[in-house]
Amino acid sequence: MPLHALTALVLAARTHAGLAGPANTAPFPFLNTLILVPAAAALVILFVPKKQTALIRAIGLVAAIGVLGIAAAVLDQFKTSTAGYQLVETHPFASGLGISWTVGVDGVSLFLMLMVAVLFPIALAGATEKENTKAFTVWVLIAEVGCMGSFLSLDLLLFFLFFELTLIPVYFLIVGWGRERRGPAATKFFLYTFAASAFLLVGILSLAFIHAGQSGVTTFDVIQLAHTHLSGTADVVLFLAFTAAFAVKAPMFPFHTWSPDAYATSPAGGVVVLAAVMAKLGTYGIVRFDLSLFPHAVVVLAPLLLSLGVAGIIYGGIVAAAQRDLGRLMAYSSLAHMGFIILGAFALTGEALSGAVLQMVNHGLYTAALFLLIAMIYRRWGTTDVRHLGGLQRKAPMMAAVFTLVMLASIGVPGLNGFIGEFLILAGTFLTHRWWAIVALVGVVLAAVYLLWAYQQVFHGPPAKAAAAPAPGAGRPFRELTVAEGLVMAPLVVLIVFLGVYPQPVLARITPTVDRIINQVEAAAHPHIPALGRASLSAAVTPASERHDHGFVLHAVLASHAIVGAGRPGAGTAPVQGRIPTKVASR
């Protein structure tokens, strides 16, 4: 057989494997079920009488756990070493407007989807809001619809619809069940994100019409839009329009000003949705859309965004250390962690991007755990102000133990999940942007400072301090972690430890997709890459054997840690898979 025919055949096969093709369509509409089950449950609950709180909670929990089951099935169906979208489903939605209902999953969205599936049952179970359980459950389920839909959509406008949908339930969760001064906080949150989304919408439409002008097809399909040829200015302007919305949602420094108020006033269930899940929509948007749609602009503006990321790390760390309210402290801590993810996304190396994706999941897990613990403290004494708290370790040793573990994960102690993500990000960034990585390292120290300080204030120290400035509910006894609360925390603790010890299965699934994204950026933006970055970027597309050497050197230099090396069992195959879309794109 002639060689070129063979090549074409292989290429065609790979195109199918790598992109949305019939080979990867779903045997069962898993992904649509993920979106529709919580929606259906919300609808059912609307018709259940308000008084039946037990039934309502049961329906909500069963639906959320059902979603978790389907998500597990998706994990099972997921082909580990495939870089492209899998389980793709397409249905007509509003074809007159060019919108199609296209959902799919790849290495980047897989674990975020799983994180959503894990955290929502916990948010529902951990919610202690006694009032109006019906409305609360409905809003949480709608939030799950929004988050699931955002992570799974492959159509930009469908993504936008779900992205916007998440605002409404969270707004109502804060307004209905929040703590003091929730009104301004909720409105500020809604307006900030809504206004930023305006730019995203106009950006999406502009991109689609530039694409329509070139191809004659009006579509919002992410895969097709990636082939749009953009002039330098258009590229940068559209990139900024997209990034504005994602930066506010994340939040990224300096667009974070809504988050401390919103995080501090949200109810427990609401803040898990808001801080742990919805914040990832912003960073996910950056990884999914910014990197694949605007590679030129990404390379040009990477230093700016890296600087903002580092600024967020340092600023968040310093300001967090000055907070007296645990909710606000966590908000600034999140800002710092988001800074790390931004750093990983714009360092443009495989390691850093893998770390960023992993860190999104990790941050979701330990942030949810920390906020739930804070809510438990609030429920007992009606305050989250460290001045009113102290010496709780004696009263609730189990809670103190769990808090310690989760806090250490958040600081990034090896053996717990926070470490892997931050390590990969810093290692990957160090390759291309050395000084940014070095400054960011300070952030790790800061995290230890403010979290350990907060722990000391709350759990150690003399109980007399608390007596001197008593909390509103200080008269009540401070109870130990109850069995129900323990059950809510248990899955999070297990996952935090598991991912810290054995992240390989996760990395193996993330890496092929991440390599594909980095290759795309590299292929599209090669002429403009600054000299410093070119070395490592070309490393990303060098043959697998050389690549492994490179990885080896890296590990030897930095930590000689087994995680990363072992985390790339697909290192032999992944780059081969990863190059396919690059070829398609360059045709």
């Binding site: 074809s95 909720a186 502009s206």
Partner: protein, 560 residues
Amino acid sequence: MMARTLLAASTLSLPHVNYTAIMPELIALGGSLLLLAVAAVTPRRLPTTVYAAMTSGIGIASLVASLVLYHDVRQGGAFVAIAHSIDVDGFSVLVMTLASCVLILTPMLAAGFFEREGLGGCEYYALACISVGGAMLMGAANDLVLIFLALEVLSIPLYVMAGLDYRREGSGEAALKYFLLGAFSSAIFVYGIALVYGATGSTNLGEIAAFLAHNVLVANGVLYGGMALLIVGFGFKVAAVPFHMWTPDVYQGSPTPAVGFMASIAKVGGFAAFLRVFISTLPTLSQTWKPVLWVIVIITVLLGAIAALVQRDVKRMLAYSSINHAGFILLGLQAATAKGATGSLYYLFAYSLLILGSFGVIAVVGGRGDTGHSIERYRGLARRSPLLAGAFALLLLAQAGAPFTTGFFAKLYVVEAAVAAHSYALAAVAMVSAAIAAFFYLRVVFVMFADTRLAEAPAGDAALVQAAGAPAVSAVGASGSGVFEPAVAGGGGVLLAEAPVRLEEETATPEASATGEEIRDGAVSAWTWSGLILTVGATVVFGIWPQPLVDFAQHAHLLF
């Protein structure tokens, strides 16, 4: 026989009248006569619900006629009828369909109000039928003179409606204001027609378009003058800035269900003719009128959104919000493309249902006497009547453009048309105005859903105005208050004094308890519920499953 002889003898040649082409109009206008006749021949005064049922029936009949016509157009293509004065094309049948829907819903949302207020009688319903007939004719008219006639048929019933609540001073004031300004703008409109006729030699839209396509006017000042006056006339009808001055006062003073009706039908009719005249008749001059509309769109969306921020009266707030909506609909017109026209029509669909439903709720909450429209009255509404508050919240969020509602797709449609026509800046400004507008919708939602028992709620709400209303409000509100907001006594200027004002309001008991009247879900009439279920249902169903309505709107092709 005799008539025919007479006609044959005269030189007047009557055109062939194709009655099917104007069947929906005939049903609506004939329906008004039917209502009046029934009212005249029945010995006892019938309950208002009977008239409401009849009106809805008339609406359904005209909807069926419209859909039959829609089917004809889909099968046999568009055509002109009755001496080239009536267009029957995708656009006009869609306008007829929409106007019929408005006619079905209006009596549902008004019956409870008129029953409560003791303003029985068939007048409101007969006027609604006439006005709807006028709006349909606006969409179908292919002649400037006919458009003018249709405009008057549409408007005069609205003037009367504004003054229907004769016991309340504000209603009479609103009617007078609306009538005077309306008559004034009609005069301007007629003068515009005269100038266009002078420049092109015809009032027929087809002939004007053909003339302009084949001739280049050396001195086109007369044509431009005529066009400008037409923009003023239409701008008044659809409440575009700077021709919006009447809107807040008229909306505030008129009986609440009438406001919902006039807000929807006047825009439907006004925009139908506006779109047809400018997109299908004057496309050759689009380079001239597009910049003008560009400016009008910008100031309309911004002023509508920003002025609404400082309102404490919900009807006034929605008046400004409807100005913002008018700006969005104009966005589709400004694109000057078929897609833009379709987008505007889709927006009109979504907007009409939303505004009808919203004023349906306001009519209920307003209470006896139709005076309780302060935002304070909505405080804690969700606790007292969760269904009503839920419906209102949904309608308001849809107006803000919340996803999975028709409001979102409407905004998306027109913004998409604007971006496709390369009006990027305009699209961005419009979306930012939508974000500003979201603030005041959210304020009502917050007031309804926040727990009244918490002491922080009022302070929080006041702070919310200052905190998140942010620079836009204080800057523009303060500087602009004297210009566009004379009625609110320096509303924006005293924004910083908002908190003390609110505290006084708080110490003075809220109106609801003052009148000893509580709104409860159970007390709302079945008519209102059915109207709300239809409007809210359509908003949500077509939001989650947009395909049918989008496809339907796609058929709104103009004849030319």
